[in-house]
């Protein structure tokens, strides 16, 4: 990108991702952060910037907690971000490029709160989060409406308008599960088939259990610095090529199902406008998959016209492999996505996985000669964020 220095991801780390970690949200974030700093090779005392998720139903840990837990002696820049934390990563990149700090620690985490899971409600040590998910509507206006699961209505609208079927969405779920079988981080690794998907119980018709990520405990972190400083560190740097985000035209994202794909499309347009790369150049695709409909809309935003995602998935489906290869080439969510790693990752698992792939460090998941990845995050009431990284 245009000769300017770029930011580089030089360290990655994660806590255990688990249905029930037995520890609090602070422990998860601290463990992930420590692992990322150790992986980076940056001295602990040199970490001088911290940014992480702080809001809605995330761990609600501000950077002060992380400074304290890791014993960081001289942090001179910090910030917070709303999930999905692709935005936190872009904030970290900006901080090192402007010189606000030299080495930024960037974290994401999520916890199985009492308001997101039955197990959570049964555990008196899991407190309610400071904030609850607020799609921007005042709760009084929607809480009587029967279901807050907006994505189910987005899915219904897509099916009605474009003729997509449950079998189309099944390909996303099965693809991710197939990939997760090779990912030791993933929580859900048992192989499944399209038939398994079609037989899964409905949670909010047309959305079934296998269309949605499950609440889990976990945290992930990366260390970001400049490309120049990265040369002195042990791992090959993974560069942040470009970032772009979009906010919904309407804050009440629960109510505008057809708007979701449009805003994703806007974010993708801005992303590639800032890069010499085009979507066709990308080797690895990580569409946000908190719900299968969101992955569908992101894939359409990246590669096709509105409503043409199902056809792309049908053409890209390998029955032998039980997974997708877009255009016969590009794998999708090589780690299994949120659907397999769980909701704690909220798209940040894609950042960890892309770095492993572009380092050539993804073990049996390694995709040969992978040089570039596109990662998208969020939808509806949250931001829609996109980032391009290259090895």
């Amino acid at each position: 990108m245009s000769g300017l220095e770029q930011a580089a991801i030089v360290g990655i780390g994660w806590s255990e991702l688990a249905r029930d970690s037995g520890v609090g949200p602070g422990s998860l974030v601290a463990r992930a952060a420590r692992a990322a700093v150790l992986d980076s090779g940056v001295a602990r005392d040199a970490i001088d910037g911290v940014v992480g998720v702080y809001g809605t139903d995330s761990p609600t840990l501000w950077p002060g907690y992380v400074v304290d837990a890791l014993g960081l002696p001289d942090v001179r820049w910090w910030d917070t971000a709303q999930p999905p934390s692709v935005t936190a990563l872009s904030t970290a990149a900006n901080a090192v490029l402007t010189g606000n700090c030299d080495y930024a620690l960037c974290y994401h985490g999520k916890y199985r709160w009492a308001n997101t899971s039955v197990v959570g409600r049964g555990d008196p040590l899991r407190q309610a989060p400071a904030h609850e998910f607020d799609p921007g509507l005042d709760h009084a206006l929607v809480e009587h409406g029967g279901s807050m699961l907006w994505a189910a209505r987005v899915m219904r609208e897509h099916m009605a308008r474009h003729g997509s079927t449950r079998a189309d969405f099944a390909r996303i779920a099965v693809n991710n599960r197939t990939n997760a079988a090779r990912n030791p981080r993933a929580v859900f690794r048992t192989p499944m088939t399209v038939e398994d998907y079609l037989a899964a119980p409905m949670i909010d018709d047309p959305m079934c259990l296998l269309d949605m990520d499950a609440p889990i405990d976990g945290a992930l972190a990366v260390v970001v610095t400049t490309e120049r400083r990265a040369r002195d560190l042990p791992h090959p740097p993974v560069l942040v090529e470009a970032f772009a985000s979009a906010l919904p035209e309407r804050n009440d994202g629960l109510l505008w199902p057809e708007a979701d794909g449009l805003a994703a499309r806007r974010a993708v347009g801005h992303l590639f406008a800032r890069s010499d790369l085009t979507p066709a150049d990308i080797d690895l695709a990580y569409p946000y998959d908190g719900f299968t409909i969101l992955a569908m809309l992101w894939l359409e935003a990246l590669y096709t016209g509105p409503g043409e995602g199902p056809a792309l998935l049908r053409e890209s489906w390998s029955d032998d492999e039980q997974r997708l290869r877009l255009f016969g080439r590009v794998p999708v969510c090589t780690h299994g996505g949120n659907l397999s790693e769980g909701r704690a990752t909220q798209g940040f698992g894609s950042v960890i996985e892309a770095v492993q792939q572009l380092r050539g460090d993804a073990g049996e998941r390694q995709v040969d000669a992978a040089r570039t990845a596109v990662i998208t995050g969020g939808m509806a009431g949250t931001n829609r964020s996109t980032i391009l990284v290259s090895g």
């Binding site: 005042d138 009084a140 699961l149 209505r153 009605a160 009440d252 109510l255």
Partner: protein, 152 residues
């Protein structure tokens, strides 16, 4: 109990009187909902509360899982035909879930539980008397879906 604040209390109080009031910009005609401090179209402060009859069309819906034996719930996004750009998330009542179709015309009604009175919608041709499966199984369920005049 519904969470209301200084910006939404008037709307809420209207609901308790079974009145659907939506602000409209006096200067450019934009309908403004949920309540906002000024018109997002032209930034005029001149917003005028307008009571609607409550004709709507179904944008999309889902069928959330309910406890065994409970009546089905249709959770719908309704676009108000009298106020373009305004939508509500409400329960759709008085119709079997399998007969619900996107785009179907709907009429405003109300239901109440211990927390207060809320808007709901039902088919325009429904019996204006109490529709089935109105509330959430609690006593009362004093719904009167279909009371609104469609196409007003």
């Amino acid at each position: 109990m519904a969470r209301i604040n200084h910006d939404t209390v008037e709307l809420w109080q209207g609901w308790q009187r079974r009145e659907l009031r939506v602000d409209r910009c006096k200067d450019c005609g934009t309908w403004v909902f949920p309540p906002r401090p000024f018109c997002p179209g032209c930034w005029s402060d001149a917003l005028v509360g307008t009571v609607l009859a409550g004709a709507g069309r179904l944008v999309s819906y889902s069928l959330p899982r309910v406890a065994p034996g409970s009546p089905p719930v249709v959770s719908g996004v309704v676009a108000l035909t009298e106020a373009p750009g305004v939508r509500l998330l409400t329960r759709i009542v008085g119709i079997e879930p399998e007969r619900v179709t996107l785009g179907m015309p709907l009429a405003l009604g109300w239901w109440e539980d211990a927390g207060g009175v809320y808007p709901q919608f039902g088919p325009v041709d429904a019996n204006p008397a109490r529709p089935p499966g109105a509330a959430d199984g609690t006593a009362g369920g004093a719904a009167d879906g279909g009371a609104g005049k469609a196409g007003a």
